[in-house]
Assembly symmetry: C2
Homo-oligomer: 348 residues x 2
């Protein structure tokens, strides 16, 4: 049986752990120094606090001090920590990663480098390894419409494994598959890595339309659908500009993941609060008090930096991204008009 | 000011009437022999029964016997009747249509010909005109994510005007635009006409995921998102096979309209009933008792005929369409597994 060390015992790491036990894998689940309470719950057999689902007792847990033991002899290492933790955890785990056949990546986000440049996560990880003089195995970018709680609970789930080496993607898409956890292999690492953080930004914008419905008492479905279509358009434009295939933004990582992220989750909830009229900054304070990190908020300025550094000629084709910055960071009370202007077709 | 005769006083015809008065058009709204109660409400200034919105008193109403008067001297004729009524109403209005500068089409559906072949609506209308020896003006196919009630109420709405003659699409996209009714011109008549009826089929499938959530008490968001992505894929495959641009299925008529149709409406409600476990046939009976036509149900066999007649080599790439037939027409109680098999990636 293949074996894996999943680094990060949060929602997605734990969801993946359950899915892989169903496919017969030996799973080590390592919790960071922030995850002790999660490991406690898993070991006690009580529902995981973040996903309200029990993690299989076939998963072997490791605490933050036992990283080397967790990595010992595994075939695959999976990185499932928050994106801000990537540089540190990669450095800590570099020796184990270098000995594995592949590094899987469920963490998603844009990585700001010390020099201010924005990198996609796999590029950032390869750079960290290069600088340490360590050779790492192929990276498999995992994304698509996967709510971790449903994945953990064995609800039907489609996901995508993107690796520059397509044969590697196919190998793991076969080995990790189970009846309800089905994997599409792809060679489009860039497309997967661009869509995943972008969809969090756009899910905020979808939430605004829902919030407007709550505020006004009548649906804003036409606006929500126009927002959805514009979001997909912008993901496809940016990802293709950075070298991705068109199919990725229009498939599971783009269209599919935007759909699931717009149905529930913190990004959408935050957007609903804005749409209701709570004010973007006040709503953010509320989310912080609830200890609910809104990934899309952090992604906005990084995405704009990425566009302006690496794809400046498509800047004008991404009005919804810039609208997100105006609404969230400038707290503009005209948010409803700003969304409409960004997503309704211009005068031809 | 441009003038229009809108044929059909149902939801979409009346919504379009309100939108066009805002753009300064002179609007004649003709009700069919089935629409007298709708015309009554419009003339009384009470909310339109189908969309709960008052229709502007600048709209001039006509009853079924006054078709010639409604068509007299207008620049544009718009066809907004139910798709089954298209042949009859086109024949009745042919003289007026032939004198107009354009025929707009908000009606959507696949048209079964007497010989059993399935045509797209514009092709069917051109055939009817040809057989009568009448020359008709350019057809503008109107679609996209437009709930008629929101359009009528001046909520922000994005739509698409598709005409083989792109300049015609641009002309009307400019002339019909108002602040909250914004139009993207397109030359892709085929793409618009394929996506519009197909999305009704797929909205039923999206509803099933919502119904499963009601039935089981836990979300099926991953399944719904995988269904959404597969639906978009199938719309793009079929429409491109029939000559459409890729952009159409991935834009407002495909992705956008599927999003809005999956949020509310009869197709989605019917799917929810199936997902809840009411049984496809029993649920259809309930919808019929409520006088709620489910367009997607009628579209399923026509779409399958269209595929098998005109695009047989993509048949195997459309498992969700065939799953819809099995679920709706065979009333298969294994519907949840059937959807999952159709939308989860196969073993690579």
């Amino acid at each position: 049986m293949p074996s894996i060390a999943i680094l990060g015992a949060g929602a997605m790491g734990s969801g993946l752990a359950n899915a892989l036990t169903r496919a017969g894998w030996d799973v080590n689940l390592w919790g960071t120094w922030l995850d002790d309470h999660l490991i406690d719950a898993i070991e006690a057999g009580t529902p995981h606090p973040r996903i309200d689902t029990v993690i299989s007792d076939r998963v072997t847990t490791f605490r933050s001090g036992d990283l080397a033991e967790a990595l010992e002899g595994v075939d695959v290492v999976a990185l499932s920590v928050a994106s801000v933790g990537v540089p540190k955890v990669v450095e800590m785990a570099l020796d184990g990663i270098s000995k594995a056949d592949a590094l899987w990546l469920t963490t998603k986000g844009f990585l700001p480098m010390p020099d201010g440049r924005i990198q996609l996560l796999p590029d950032g990880i390869r750079r960290i390894a290069d600088e340490a003089g360590v050779t790492i195995p192929p990276i498999v970018a995992i994304a698509g419409p996967v709510k971790a709680n449903e994945c953990a609970a064995n609800e039907p789930t489609a996901t995508i494994f993107g690796c520059r080496d397509y044969d590697v993607a196919v190998k793991y898409a076969r080995e990790a598959r189970s009846d309800h956890y089905c994997i599409e292999p792809s060679n489009d690492e860039v497309g997967v890595e661009v869509c995943a953080p972008m969809k969090n930004v756009y899910a905020i914008m979808l939430g605004i339309a829902d919030g407007l419905e709550e505020k006004t008492g009548h649906p804003h479905h036409n606006l929500k659908a126009a927002t959805f279509a514009q979001a997909v358009r912008e993901m496809s434009i940016l990802s293709q500009k950075l070298g991705a295939d068109a199919a990725t933004a229009f498939g599971l990582p783009g269209v599919g993941d935007l759909e699931v992220t717009g149905l529930s989750g913190r990004n959408k909830v935050y957007g609903v609060r804005i749409g209701r009229g709570e004010g973007a900054k006040a709503a953010m304070k509320t989310m912080e008090e609830l200890e609910q990190t809104v990934e899309g908020v952090n992604a906005i300025p990084l995405a704009i930096d990425l566009v302006e550094q690496s794809a400046p000629d498509v800047k004008d084709q991404m009005p919804l991204l810039y609208a997100a910055r105006t609404i969230v960071y400038d707290d503009d009370p005209e948010f409803a008009n700003i969304v409409a202007r960004a997503v309704l077709p211009p005068m031809p």
